[in-house]
């Protein structure tokens, strides 16, 4: 069976991470499997684990009272699911639902936060990887809210 550190090493997100650091991260990791239609987490839940998606597709949804859930993004292979584990109060701000059978590496957030606090070199390596992901998503969100296709309000 493939070890978690070798699974992580294959992921572009962890590319060029020093093997010793990879071992530390994999110490917080476990394999996760989500059937199609199942929820990975709900808005308001504790953000105590985040995910590196290996296969499958995950829909991020928000619900407004009296309205059907709106899907505002989907994530797939190689994507990181979840940022709220990084900042207090560590609560999810949306729902995440597996659209199809999804396999992921789940990383214990409290465990990794603790290790990053104890080893700032690890913390910096993690931040160098997470920050570009979140900046890209911020840019994408800006483009999305511009609503550039066709006439406004149609």
């Amino acid at each position: 069976m493939e070890g978690l550190d070798s699974i992580l090493a294959e992921q572009p997100f962890f590319a060029a991470l020093e093997p010793e650091l990879s071992k530390i991260v994999s110490g917080c990791a476990r394999n996760r499997r989500f059937d199609a239609g199942s929820y990975i987490f709900h808005e308001g839940d504790d953000a105590d684990e985040f995910y590196l998606i290996r296969h499958g597709r995950v829909a991020l949804e928000m619900v407004a009272p009296g309205q059907a859930p709106v899907v505002f993004n989907t994530l797939g292979s190689g994507d990181i699911l979840g940022a709220s584990w990084l900042v207090p109060p560590y609560k999810w701000m949306f729902d995440a639902r597996a659209v199809e059978l999804t396999r992921a590496v789940g990383i214990d957030a409290k465990c990794l936060r603790g290790k990053c606090e104890a080893d700032h070199h690890l913390g910096y390596e993690m931040m160098k990887r997470f920050l570009p992901v979140f900046v890209r998503r911020l840019h994408a969100t800006r483009l999305q809210i511009l609503d550039v296709y066709g006439k406004r309000g149609k």
Binding site: R57, V71, T74, A140, D147, V148, Y149, G150
Partner: protein, 279 residues
């Protein structure tokens, strides 16, 4: 400077609408045949000036098959007086047409290479002739990937054709929408976000991009992140046009004119002005 234009370049020729298809509430596809004489050939990416009699002219890219010599196909959205009048035309009615004008997609330069075709919204229309060409000369090209983004699943252009293309084994098509409900099982998010998921070999790939300019700016950034050199990225630019011959200056874009130096432009040639406001 003497321009080498055909004598009738300013005079519209009469064309008949032989079929009108309603793609969306405000989007129509017109199939046109010449009322007399032969239809001129066109290169994928070129446009025609369509004239709604008594209303005015507007530049619309050709969206049909360059291999079909019998008709011009144009897809347009009703946004102003002219395009609204054109979108209302029905089979049997007439319009005026000048063209084709402008530059085309790099179909010859891309022979032997992979292609990634990235379209946003109605930007799929000017790219469809390139796709027809690629599919009818399939052996001449490497891998072909189409990344298409639109607002909502109900806004997917040429839906039936895309469904047919998706069944092909020699073409990868990914569609993403900006907004969706749970009935949609595809991607949700902007089209540039699909670029890192596509297997792009930057040394051997040409990118053809068409869509709203904001979408193209983000797309170019995504392609550059993927390692594509500016000279391998082609964009179809859009500005209001009048003469379509590079004379009036209406569509001036820095030192170039979109009508004659474009609409398809190689990115390295407009890199310095692409994101400059008011150009």
């Amino acid at each position: 400077m003497t321009a080498a234009f055909p004598a009738n370049a300013f005079v519209p020729t009469a064309y008949r609408v032989i079929r009108q298809r309603r793609e969306m509430r405000d989007v129509a596809t017109l199939e046109l045949s010449a009322a007399a004489g032969e239809l001129p050939t066109f290169a994928p990416g070129q446009f025609n000036m369509l004239y709604a009699f008594g209303v005015g002219e507007v530049a619309i890219s050709v969206s049909g098959d360059p291999g079909n010599r019998g008709r011009f196909v144009h897809t347009l959205r009703a946004v102003g007086a002219v395009s609204t009048a054109l979108a209302r035309l029905e089979a049997g009615q007439m319009l005026g047409l000048r063209g084709p004008f402008g530059t085309g997609w790099p179909m010859t330069a891309a022979v032997g290479s992979d292609l990634v075709i990235i379209a946003g919204g109605l930007g799929l229309a000017p790219l469809r002739p390139a796709l027809y060409h690629l599919l009818s000369h399939r052996a001449d090209y490497g891998g072909i990937t189409v990344l298409y983004g639109t607002r909502h699943p109900r806004d997917i252009l040429y839906r039936r054709e895309i469904e047919r293309w998706r069944r092909r084994l020699d073409l990868d098509i990914e569609i993403t929408v900006d907004h969706a409900d749970r009935a949609w099982h595809g991607h949700v998010g902007v089209v540039p976000a699909l670029i890192p998921r596509a297997a792009i070999d930057p040394e051997n790939t040409f990118a053809l991009v068409c869509g709203p300019e904001a979408m193209m700016r983000f797309t170019v950034a995504g392609l550059r992140d993927a390692g594509l050199a500016p000279e391998r990225i082609y964009l179809s630019m859009e500005r209001n046009m009048k003469c379509a011959l590079g004379l009036c200056g209406r569509c001036q874009f820095g030192p170039t004119f979109i009508c004659k130096d474009g609409p398809v432009m190689r990115f390295d040639r407009i890199l310095q002005i692409f994101a400059t406001r008011e150009i």
